[in-house]
Symmetry: C2
């Protein structure tokens, strides 16, 4: 398999965590990519017209995206249990994944606003709305930290990747001090080798 | 069930199309909501800390989001076939859903940029990047219209909802003239009652 890869993309991280947990990482060749919201990468577009990472090309030539599809595919390929097959356990894990992805969407839009957009065109209310979405989400997880309990699944992995991204790009939020029950509940996931390790393209 | 609803949201439409196809619409009470990227709706946040529509509250009290999770839940509840259970058919349908959702994400960001953000703070390159993502995606579907063939599934429904949203908010794109093979391939889906009907909150 081949994966359009960027070392700093939290959605790529999600896929690589899943691949590591399932013992599939060695079967994935990483492709250097430069996804960007304005200057779009033609090499990605050849496999995904949205031009986004992660995009996976399977051994039988299917191009799969986005991270949710790739992660579920890898789980299926590896015979994993990261996606509960049915019932309330499935919907809870999938909704937790949506929440983690939603935190990431808000964080990425905040970053584009304040690092990519020309300074004179930045809108403080936009950033405030996105940061508020991040905080209401973290506050929910802090108050309902039991949603993070149980066997490892895609929802916990996604939240962990979102929190690692906040550590990386928004250290001033100090989420782990502001939301201690969340920090305690997610600590075992953050401590997994698959989640904590950094990945880079081969030299 | 209760659904946080907005009549103009294409992601809400997706869920309602699925509900209609499965004969579940009569079991869903629509809740008036005013999701907004800056002025956030507290009534939605009570069930979804991201504050977005659609959010579904099931009869046994689970709050499910986003549209992908809700649609798969409804398909399961109704015993539908809109999500192929396994194999290449599943990954193709799910990736087509991602593509439709990605077109919608780009369209919504374009709309926020040009209708919500103060005029003096708009960035033409941002809009250009989003419109380019829409066009490369429509061009892909036009050149590979066979991906839209076969029994109705969530991928076709999502693309149809994306195209209806472009008709509604971006009529100047005239996508059906620019991409005639796509227009021909998706026409049977667009013609379905579930897709073409407009929905409103009860008076």
């Amino acid at each position: 398999m081949k994966l359009h890869f960027a070392p700093t993309s939290p959605y790529v991280r999600k896929c690589m965590v899943v691949a590591d947990e399932l013992g599939l990482s060695d079967r994935i060749t990483l492709l250097a990519s430069s996804a960007h919201p304005v200057n779009r990468d033609a090499s990605i577009i050849a496999n995904n017209p949205l031009g986004k990472v992660p995009t996976l090309v399977t051994d039988d030539g299917m191009a799969l995206y986005d991270s949710r599809v790739i992660c579920e595919y890898l789980n299926d390929l590896g015979g994993g249990q990261l996606f509960p097959a049915s019932g309330a356990a499935r919907w809870r894990a999938m909704t937790l994944q949506s929440l983690g992805d939603g935190i990431l969407d808000a964080a990425l839009l905040t970053r584009y606003e304040n690092m990519v957009r020309p300074e004179a065109l930045r809108w403080a209310e936009w950033t405030a709305g996105k940061l508020d979405a991040i905080h209401t989400s973290l506050s929910y997880l802090n108050q309902h930290s039991s949603v993070l309990a149980g066997e490892l699944h895609i929802g916990q992995i996604t939240v962990a990747c979102a929190l690692k991204y906040l550590d990386f790009r928004f250290p001033e939020l100090a989420w782990n001090q502001a939301y201690p029950a969340l920090a305690q509940a997610i600590a075992p996931v953050l401590a997994r080798d698959s989640v904590s390790k950094e990945r880079a393209l081969p030299a």
